[in-house]
C-alpha cells in the first residue's frame, strides 16, 4: 500500500509526529481517569502507528532516486524576525528515516515492555505521557529541517529525560539525578545555541539544506568559523551524548525506570549527539581540527567509561558506562570521517543496548527491584528467556560475530585504523577488550554462579511476563540480524546513507564507503577484534566463573587503582568541589555580601546619613530666641560680606 489516498507517505510525515503527540495529550489530560490498560494501549498504539507510518515513509523514500532522496515539507513560520527565520518544517532523508525507524521501532518495543514493567506503578499514565512526549520530541529532533526546530526536539528529549529520570520523584537521588541530567545537558545546549547563532550569522539561514549547500562555498577548509561552529555543536553533542567531560549525568540517570534507561539513555536520546554530528557532516568535514577533537574525545571516552564499567556493581550502572563507552565509539567513527559507520553503530547499539537494558530490567523486575549484582547470581535457571536474550545482547556488545555489534564495532575500529591513527585504534581496541570483559562479568555475576539473593527475594524470583519478554525476543532477533545491514562489502546502510554525507557535494567528501580498504586489512581487522572480544570474555570467565576469588585478590593487590576506578575516578567529586561548591559559595557571597552588605548597605547608608544629618541639623534648633537671633545676624553678616567682598 505505497500510496495513501493518492498521496505519498512522505507527505504524511507530520503524522509520524502527530500520533505520539496525540498520545501525550490524551494520556496527559485524561490519563488519570482512564484505566491502566487503556493508557497503555493508547501509548503503544500511538507509537505503533508512528512506526508503521515511518516504515511506509521509508519505503516511499526508497522509491526515489538515491540522489534525490530528500523530502522537505514546511508547515508554518515558527519564528520570523527580520532576516531571521525558523520554519516549522520537516525533512525526510535517509538519515532521518533511519533514525525514525529506530526511534519508533525500538520505542514501540519499549512501550510494550513498559506496560508490563510499570504495571504496578501509580504514575502509570504519567509515565506513558512522558514516554510519548519523549518519542515526539525525539522524532522532531531527527525530522527537523533546521537547527532551531531540531533544538526544540533536542531540549524536548532533555525535558522528558529529566521527567523520567525523576519519575520516582519521592526518591531524592532520582530527582537529583534528573536535575543533574538537565543541567549538564544545558551546558551542552549552551554550545549548541551559540553554534546555531554562529551558523545564522555566517550563513544567514539555519535551514539544513541551505546551510549545507552553502557551507563549502562559504567556509574555507579548516577556517576558524567552521571550527568554531563544529566545536560548539560538538559541545552540545557532548552534553547530550554523555561524553567526557559531561558524561556524569548518564550513570546517575539510571535512577529512572529501566525501560526509560533503555529507550532514552541507551537507544535513542543519548545518540542524538551522534545524529547531529552526522547531520552536520558537511560542516565537520570542513573543520578537520574539530573532527580530530571529536575522534579523540570519542576514543578517550570509550576507553575511560569502559574502565569505570569494570568495577561497578550496580547492573544498570555498568550498562550506563557501557553506553557512554559505546557512544564514544560512534564519535570515534564520526571523528575519523566515517559518519555512516557511526550511524551504523548507533543502530546496532540501539538494538543490543535496549535489549541489555530491558533484560536487566527484567532481572530487576524479577528480583523485586534489586540492582546490585553482588546480590544476584545464578539467575539462569529462574529466568531462562531473559538469560538467553541477555546473552545475545552481551555477545553483540562484546563484538562476537555474527551478532550486530560485531559488524559495527569492527567497522569503527577499521575506520579508526585506516582513516584515523593507530592511537585511535588502540583506544578503541583496548576499550573493546574491556567491554567484553565487564559485560561478561555482568553476565556471569548475574546469571551464573551461586545465588547471592536474600531468602525473601529468592522466593519471589520469577520469569517476567510476556509483555516484557516479547520485546526482549524481538530485540534479541534484531541484535542478531541487525548487523547485516552493514555487512562489509555489501553494506546496505552504507549505500542508503551515502547521499546524506557531503550534503550533495560528492567527490569532495568521502562518503564513508569502505571500498578503498583492502579486503586483507578488513579481514585481519575482523580477526583481531574478534580475538580481543574473545580474550575479554575468557578473562571474565576466568575471574568470575572459574576462580571467583580472583577478583578479590586482584583488588587487594591493586587497591589504589581499584578504589579510583570504583569511585569513577572521583570525577563527580571533583566537579562538585571545583564547580558546584564554588559556584554556590560564590553565589552566597554575592548575595550576602555584595547584595545585602554592599549595594543595600550603600543604599541604607545613604538613608541613614540623610536621617543623621536631619538629627544633627535639628540640634541647631535650640529653642532659645537669642540663638535664633544670632543665626539671623550671622547669616545676614555673612551674606553682606559675601556680596560685598566675594561676589
Amino acid at each position: 500500500m505505497p500510496y495513501f489516498f493518492g498521496c505519498s507517505y512522505l507527505d504524511l510525515i507530520g503524522y509520524v509526529l502527530l500520533f505520539p503527540l496525540a498520545g501525550t495529550i490524551i494520556n496527559g489530560l485524561l490519563g488519570k481517569k482512564l484505566s491502566k490498560f487503556v493508557v497503555g494501549i493508547i501509548g503503544c498504539t500511538a507509537i505503533g502507528i508512528s512506526f508503521i507510518l515511518s516504515f511506509f515513509v521509508f519505503i516511499d523514500l526508497l522509491k526515489l532516486d538515491p540522489e534525490h532522496r530528500v523530502f522537505e515539507i514546511d508547515y508554518f513560520t515558527w519564528i520570523g524576525s527580520g532576516s531571521f527565520e525558523a520554519i516549522a518544517g520537516l525533512q525526510v532523508d535517509p538519515l532521518s528515516v533511519v533514525m525514525i525507524l529506530v526511534v519508533t521501532g525500538v520505542g514501540f518495543l519499549i512501550h510494550v515492555y513498559s506496560i508490563g514493567y510499570m504495571h504496578d506503578d501509580d504514575g502509570f499514565y504519567r509515565y506513558f505521557t512522558y514516554l510519548n512526549l519523549f518519542t515526539f520530541s525525539m522524532l522532531l529532533l531527527v525530522l527537523a529541517n533546521n537547527f532551531l526546530l531540531m533544538f526544540i526536539g533536542w531540549e524536548g528529549v532533555g525535558l522528558c529525560s529529566y521527567l523520567l529520570i525523576g519519575f520516582w520523584f519521592e526518591k531524592k537521588s532520582a530527582s537529583t539525578a534528573g536535575m543533574k541530567a538537565f543541567i549538564v545537558n544545558r551546558v551542552g545546549d549552551f554550545g549548541f545555541i551559540l553554534a546555531i547563532m554562529l551558523i545564522f550569522v555566517t550563513f544567514k539561514t539555519i535551514d539544513f539544506t541551505e546551510v549545507f549547500h552553502a557551507a563549502p562555498e562559504h567556509l574555507q577548509m579548516g577556517s576558524f568559523v567552521a571550527i568554531m561552529i563544529t566545536l560548539l555543536l560538538f559541545v552540545g553533542a557532548v552534553g547530550k551524548s554523555a561524553q567526557i567531560p559531561l558524561y556524569t549525568w548518564l550513570p546517575d540517570a539510571m535512577e529512572g525506570p529501566t525501560p526509560v534507561s533503555a529507550l532514552i539513555h541507551a537507544a535513542t536520546m543519548v545518540t542524538a549527539g551522534v545524529y547531529m554530528v552526522v547531520r552536520c557532516n558537511v560542516l565537520y568535514t570542513l573543520a578537520p581540527f574539530s573532527l580530530t577533537v571529536v575522534a579523540v574525545i570519542g576514543g578517550v571516552t570509550a576507553l575511560f567509561a569502559a574502565t569505570i564499567g569494570l568495577a561497578q556493581n550496580d547492573i544498570k550502572r555498568v550498562l550506563a558506562y557501557s553506553t557512554v563507552s559505546q557512544i564514544g565509539y560512534m564519535f570515534l567513527a564520526c571523528g575519523v570521517g566515517a559518519y555512516i559507520t557511526g550511524i551504523f553503530h548507533l543502530v546496532t547499539h540501539a538494538f543490543f543496548k535496549a535489549l541489555l537494558f530491558l533484560g536487566s530490567g527484567s532481572v530487576i523486575h524479577g528480583l523485586g527491584g534489586e540492582q546490585d549484582m553482588r546480590k544476584m547470581g545464578g539467575l539462569k535457571k529462574y529466568m531462562p528467556t531473559t538469560y538467553t536474550t541477555f546473552l545475545i545482547g552481551t555477545l553483540a556488545i562484546a563484538g562476537i560475530p555474527p551478532f550486530a555489534g560485531f559488524f559495527s564495532k569492527d567497522e569503527v575500529l577499521l575506520d579508526a585504523f585506516s582513516k584515523g591513527s593507530l592511537f585511535l585504534w588502540a583506544l578503541g581496541a583496548f576499550a573493546a577488550l574491556l567491554t567484553a570483559f565487564y559485560m561478561f562479568r555482568l553476565l556471569f555475576m548475574t546469571f551464573y554462579g551461586k545465588s547471592n539473593m536474600s531468602k525473601h527475594v529468592e522466593e519471589h524470583v520469577h520469569e517476567s511476563p510476556m509483555s516484557i519478554l516479547i520485546p526482549l525476543l524481538v530485540l534479541a532477533l534484531l541484535s542478531i540480524l541487525g548487523g547485516f545491514i552493514g555487512f562489509p562489502t555489501a553494506s546496505a546502510i552504507n549505500s542508503f546513507l551515502a547521499p546524506v554525507i557531503g550534503g550533495g557535494h560528492h567527490g569532495m567528501i568521502d562518503g564513508g564507503d569502505l571500498h578503498h580498504v583492502s579486503n586483507s586489512l578488513m579481514f585481519s581487522m575482523m580477526g583481531i577484534s574478534t580475538g580481543i572480544a574473545v580474550a575479554g570474555i575468557l578473562l571474565a570467565y576466568l575471574m568470575y566463573v572459574k576462580q571467583p576469588d580472583l577478583p578479590a585478590k586482584l583488588v587487594g593487590k591493586f587497591k589504589l587503582i581499584y578504589t579510583i576506578i570504583y569511585n569513577k575516578y572521583y570525577v563527580d567529586e571533583i566537579y562538585d568541589a571545583t564547580i558546584v561548591k564554588p559556584t554556590v559559595k560564590t553565589s552566597f557571597i554575592l548575595w550576602k555580601i555584595v547584595d545585602v552588605k554592599i549595594i543595600d548597605g550603600f543604599v541604607n547608608a545613604i538613608a541613614r546619613i540623610v536621617e543623621l544629618k536631619g538629627e544633627v541639623l535639628k540640634l541647631f534648633q535650640t529653642g532659645y530666641v537669642r540663638n535664633y537671633a544670632l543665626s539671623i545676624l550671622l547669616g545676614g553678616v555673612i551674606i553682606i560680606v559675601c556680596s560685598l567682598v566675594l561676589l
Binding site: 535639628k618 540640634l619 534648633q621 535650640t622 529653642g623 532659645y624 530666641v625 537669642r626 537671633a629 544670632l630 545676624l633
Partner: protein, 100 residues
C-alpha cells in the same frame, strides 16, 4: 557743618549696639528695647539721608516707623505680660518649651 557720614556711622553703631543687645540680654523687655534702639538707628539713617538728598520721603518714612514701633510696643508688651502671667518670668532663656 558735620559730615553726613558721622550720622550714618552713629546710626550704624546704634544699630550694632541694638543687635548685640538682642543677642546678649536675657530679659524680654530689654531685648525689645534693644530692638527699639535698632529701629531708631534706622530712623536716624533715614533722616540723615533725607537731609542729604533734600527729599522729604525719608522723614515721612521715619514717621511711619515710629508709628509702627509704637504699635509693636503695645503688642509686644502685651505678649510679654501674657507670658509673664503664665510662666512668671520674662527671661527668654527660660522660654524654650519648643525646640528641635
Amino acid at each position: 557743618m558735620i559730615l553726613f557720614t558721622w550720622y550714618l556711622i552713629l546710626s550704624g553703631v546704634l544699630f550694632s549696639i541694638g543687635a548685640v543687645g538682642v543677642l546678649i540680654r536675657r530679659n524680654a523687655i530689654v531685648i525689645f528695647m534693644c530692638i527699639e534702639l535698632m529701629l531708631n538707628s534706622v530712623n536716624l539713617a533715614f533722616v540723615t539721608f533725607s537731609r542729604q538728598l533734600n527729599s522729604m520721603d525719608g522723614q515721612i518714612f521715619v514717621f511711619f516707623i515710629m508709628t509702627v514701633a509704637a504699635a509693636e510696643a503695645a503688642v509686644g508688651l502685651a505678649i510679654i505680660i501674657a507670658i509673664y502671667r503664665n510662666k512668671a518670668t520674662v527671661n527668654v532663656d527660660d522660654i524654650n518649651l519648643m525646640k528641635w
